[in-house]
Structures are given as structure tokens and as C-alpha cells.
Subunit: 339 residues, 2 copies
DNA sequence: CTGAAAGCGCTTACAG
DNA sequence: CTGAAAGCGCTTACAG
């Protein structure tokens, strides 16, 4: 159905290879024939077949993006679209398109990624998961396929990755609670599999230690990061009668859920208990009370991730880079009555 | 570098075509050879090259998604990710992947779409723009390339499209204002190029007419839909000294901006002036005051758009369908003091 | 049930 | 500067 390079070649009375060279902007073609061929391409409404091109070229100018869990859930959190926004902005500038897919669990994800990587359909891939011992990551390393990870991976020396300074900012956030006189500070949503939560947890513990506050694991509630509702995690905490005066949640949505339960229990934020989250969701600023949070600059995370990936795709000699995007503490009324 | 069908064929001492038939699950292959070949594929860690497959097959199992304006801007509004979420959920179930790209203006968009459609890289495309006289749409129709549009297009009989019942819900929203005693109801953000705003505008006018309220074009402010800030549009309105008592904005973000200006001008919502928006942004429920809005069910819009597209891709005989997703009026405090 | 061959629409050394 | 030919890794009628 479509017009091919051969049709153009016949119409222009040249060889297909000549037409191909015009497409590739090969400088060895004379201006005259180049113009003749281009004119005919216009007239016949020719569009190069990217698939055929890719097969011969070994490059599609498409990068894959694998979102964690089902895409359905992932997109419910503004964090993911915001990262994608950052990725697309640079990708578009560099002539790359984005192929989005998702996988429900780690096994499906590994298969998906290895199919993508080996299937020739993408030139590189950006992962948004970084679980401990991620099988997808080790597979990509072995295959020497270009990739970058949003979120520090376990084997962080042999991977391109971007992340916030989670340890430091969690330290600062905890210090902020301590400065306000809190001694019983709970930590909600740490997950042994999700490195970003572990980094934050470490920063939290270090801040406690540096300020002579004993660590109490009754104040720690594990969760599946974004999936869990903060309401349930908070309930678990209450049932332990640990009576915290401050709550640090690993995500704003967890914090919202926690506040809901606290309100139902008759506690006022920030008067009776202070609460903070992470990711500075658009809602946080408008929530009642406005929620103290951490701006992670997801846009920059995405942007930098693509840039690392692009460097990996285009350079011949492998080297691994990391990019740390500074997170900012945003103090609001939920942890500070005077704001 | 990669293992190919020929490598497998040699190792299994069969013809490449036999290997191919195993891949395609062709039933005419004996159980014995099938198993032998599958075993070897596993051992040699074979992954079919999707590009080569697509070239021979004329199908990639990828659908394109073109987001309006720069993707960067589009993703700032939760509406777009929510549509994508709907698209991906069904796409994933049907084994399709999503290729996202964007174009800054109509010209770039037309080129992009025609490249995608003719480049063999996608099996179909979903458009999220529906401008009046959209050149991309007419191009796709001419090329007989499968596509679906989110938002009613101009030539709505020869296109697969999904949309809300914008006319009806705008009518209801306007009636809601009228029932509350408003007679001077402004309309913010109608754009002569964007059909969805025109449909809403028509519903608004019809409600006025049915209730004996004269239409006053001093109360209408044009805007570029989502791009414009409501603050500026509201300023234009104020400068005309039209003194409305109610404001209908074509999008919640326009409404937020408008309320900002009103507040600065010393007017209270809803006491002095009532304001409503569209799209029921997550913020709307938490805004102060909570904003009356219209839930457009973006997830369902995306889901249905993909389903229409899939039907178009898989069926041989062309037919055109539409899908109307009911929008719901969500009355909140910004238009009703008693809520 | 399996194989040999042509083809999908390009690219790219190799010649000239 | 241009062409003939082989190749990218598959699929699929056509034979047998």
C-alpha cells in the first residue's frame, strides 16, 4: 500500500541506494539528483518505513519506560507523570520517542524488560523501580543493554542512576521535628525492598542518634510505599500505644491517610501531633492543615535519567554515572503552628 | 550479537521456517520438534526480534498517543495522565504497548502523525486534540489509518471518538447557578478552536435561553483552554465591569486562578460570587472553598478510546463509533453556601 | 509435518 | 557521484 524507496527510485530513474542516501542526508549525493528525488518524494507522499530502517540500522530512536506495578496504579500518584514529563522533555529534544509499559510483579517485569531489550524495539530503557536485588537490573547489566534507573539501586556502582539525597533530607526533616521538641517521632512506610525508603529511614535514625534520642522500633511501621494507605499504617501504630508526638511518612498520601485517622481519633494536627510527608504533592499545599513535605523535583529526576541513558546509548565506552537531585524541605503548618 | 532464528535452526537441525512456526504457535508443527526447539531457545536465551517480526507482519502491537501542545505542559494537568492511565489499562490487557509523543503546534503534529502512521511503527493512534478543522484528522482519514480521538471532532461521523456529554452537563451546571438566583453568569475559557469548550458554551447559552436570561457576550471571556491562567481571564472580565455574580470556568485551574484574583479584589467565594470549574481536579475537593466542578471520568475516556481504536485495528470493515462518557456535576461550597 | 525461497523496506560496504 | 548486491531477522505462500 505505502510508497517505498523502490517506487521513488523507479520514478526518479535512479537506484534505490541513491534514494536511501538522500534519506540519510549522505553528502556524496549531487545537489541535482538530491533535489530531483526530494521533489518526487513530496509528490508521491513518501514516508520512510521506520521499521525497515530500524531493522537495518539497529536503532529505533525509542526508549522504553517501565513503570512499577500496574501503570494504572502508578499514574494515580502525580510523582510518576511528573518524572515522565521530565523524561519526555529531553527525549523530544533529542528526537527520541517514549514507549511506556508496565508489569504487575517483578517476574513479569524481568520478562518484559528482557523482551524489550532483546527485541530491538528500544535503544535503551529507564526503570522506575529499584528494589533490592532487582532481577531486571542484573539482567540488563549482563546483556550490556543501555539503561538508567530512577532511584538508587543496590549495586550502585555499575548502574546509571538518579536519585535525591534522601538520607540527608530525611535527616533534616527529622531534625526539624527534634528542634520543635519532639522526642517520640514515628516513621511510616519503610519497606525493606524499596531502597528509597531505606535511605530515608537511615537518615531518620541517624538524626535521632545524633541528638541523643533512643531509637524505638515500636515507632516504625513498615508499608509497601505508595500502595499502602496511610490510614491503615497509622492504625497499626495506634494499636501499639506508642503515643508518638510526631509522624514522618514516606509519602504525602500516606500522611494524608494518617491524618484522617488521627482526626477521627480526635487528635488535632499540628497541635496534638505533627505530621510530615515526602514528594510534595500539589495537594499538600492546599491540604488542611498544609502538609510539611519534601520536594523531590521529580521533573529533574526524569530529565537527568534520560540524559544519563542517552550518554550510555551514544557513547562507545561504558561508564556509569549517577546524578543526585537535591530535595528541599518544605515546612508548612502540619509541623509548625506558627506557619 | 543476538541469537537469531537461524542460530536456533542450526542448533536444532531444522529449517528457519520451522523455528518461525514454533514462535507463531503454528499447530502444524509436531509436538516433538516443537518441544525440541523450545528447549534450545531457552538454552540459547533466544528472544525474537520484534522489529524484524513487525517488518514481515505489518504490525507492531504498539499504539501511538499524541498529546496536545508540548507533553511538558500537558502532563501538568492531571487530566492527561488520567486518560493515559485508562488507555494503558486496556492496552496492556490486549498486549499493546504505548508510544507517547507530542508536538508543539498543529503543523508539527500533522507531520508527526503522518510519519508515525506511514512509518509502520504503530498500528493505530489516539489523538487527544480535537481542534476545529484538525489537519491531522483529515490526513488520517485519507490514509485510512486506524485512529480514535478523545474529544468530539468536527467531522464526527467519519471518526471514532469518545467524549463527555458536555452540552448537557454544562446546561445542568448553568441551571444550577440559575436555581441559586444568579442572572449574571460569566463563562471563562471558551476557545473557538477547541470543540469541547464550544459544546460547553452551547449548553450554557441554551440554559440561559430556556430560563429567560438574556445572553450577554460581555460575560464571555475567550481563552486557550488549559494554557491560559484563570487569573488573567478573570482580570479581563473585571475590566469590562460586567459585574457577574457567578463564574463558570472551562477548567478547574482556570477557576483557581479566577478565585485568586477575586480574593485579591476583596470578593468572597461563594458569598459575593459563585465559581465553578470542569474536570474535578483532585485539588478541587480540598481547595478553599471546595470547588464545584464536573467529573469527566478521564479514565473511562481513555479506556473507551483504546477500545474503539482496537476495534478499528482488528476489524476488516471500517465503521465509525462514538462513545459518550457521562459527566457528573459535583456541587461543592464554591457555588452553594450550604455545603 | 517440514523445507527452500521470496519478500517485508530499508542500509551499507564494495566497485566503478 | 551512483549502482548492484548482500544483509538486517523475521514470515508465509508454495511444494512436497
Amino acid at each position: 500500500m505505502g510508497v517505498t524507496i523502490n517506487d521513488i527510485a523507479k520514478a526518479a530513474k535512479v537506484a534505490p541506494s541513491t534514494v536511501s542516501r538522500v534519506l540519510a542526508n549522505n553528502p556524496r549525493i549531487s545537489q541535482e539528483t538530491r533535489e530531483k528525488i526530494q521533489k518526487i518524494m513530496k509528490e508521491m507522499n513518501y514516508h520512510p518505513n521506520m521499521i525497515a530502517r530500524s531493522l537495518a540500522n539497529k536503532s529505533t530512536k525509542i526508549v522504553g519506560l517501565v513503570v512499577p506495578g500496574t501503570t494504572e496504579k502508578a499514574f494515580q500518584h502525580p510523582f510518576i507523570p511528573e518524572i515522565i514529563r521530565g523524561i519526555i522533555s529531553v527525549a523530544h529534544k533529542n528526537g527520541y520517542k517514549l514507549l511506556i509499559s508496565s508489569a504487575a510483579d517483578a517476574k513479569e517485569e524481568k520478562k518484559l524488560i528482557s523482551d524489550l531489550a532483546n527485541g530491538g524495539i528500544i535503544d535503551g530503557v529507564i526503570l522506575m523501580t529499584s528494589r533490592l536485588n532487582d532481577p531486571a537490573i542484573s539482567g540488563l547489566i549482563k546483556a550490556k543493554f543501555p539503561f538508567a534507573v530512577v532511584g538508587r539501586p543496590a549495586n550502585d556502582d555499575s548502574v546509571n542512576w538518579v536519585d535525591n539525597n534522601n538520607y540527608a533530607v530525611a535527616y533534616d526533616l527529622t531534625k526539624h521535628f527534634i528542634d520543635r521538641g519532639h522526642k517520640k517521632i514515628a516513621f511510616l512506610g519503610v519497606s525493606s525492598q524499596v531502597i528509597v525508603t531505606l535511605d530515608r529511614f537511615d537518615g531518620y535514625k541517624k538524626a535521632l542518634q545524633d541528638n541523643g534520642i533512643p531509637f524505638d522500633d515500636k515507632l516504625v511501621v513498615e508499608g509497601k510505599f505508595i500502595d499502602d494507605t496511610g490510614y491503615d499504617l497509622m492504625k497499626q501504630l495506634m494499636d501499639r500505644s506508642a503515643s508518638p508526638t510526631g509522624i514522618i511518612a514516606c509519602d504525602d498520601f500516606l500522611a494524608f491517610g494518617a491524618i484522617k485517622l488521627l482526626t477521627e481519633a480526635g487528635l488535632k494536627v499540628p497541635d496534638d501531633i505533627a505530621v510530615a510527608g515526602f514528594n510534595n504533592t500539589p495537594l499538600s499545599d492546599h491540604f488542611i492543615p498544609p502538609l510539611t513535605s519534601v520536594e523531590v523535583n521529580a521533573y529533574a529526576l526524569g530529565k537527568n535519567a534520560f540524559e544519563l541513558l542517552l550518554a550510555d546509548i551514544t557513547s562507545d565506552n561504558k561508564s556509569f554515572s549517577r546524578s543526585i537531585v537535591p530535595a528541599e524541605l518544605i515546612i508548612r503548618n502540619s509541623t509548625d503552628k506558627n506557619i
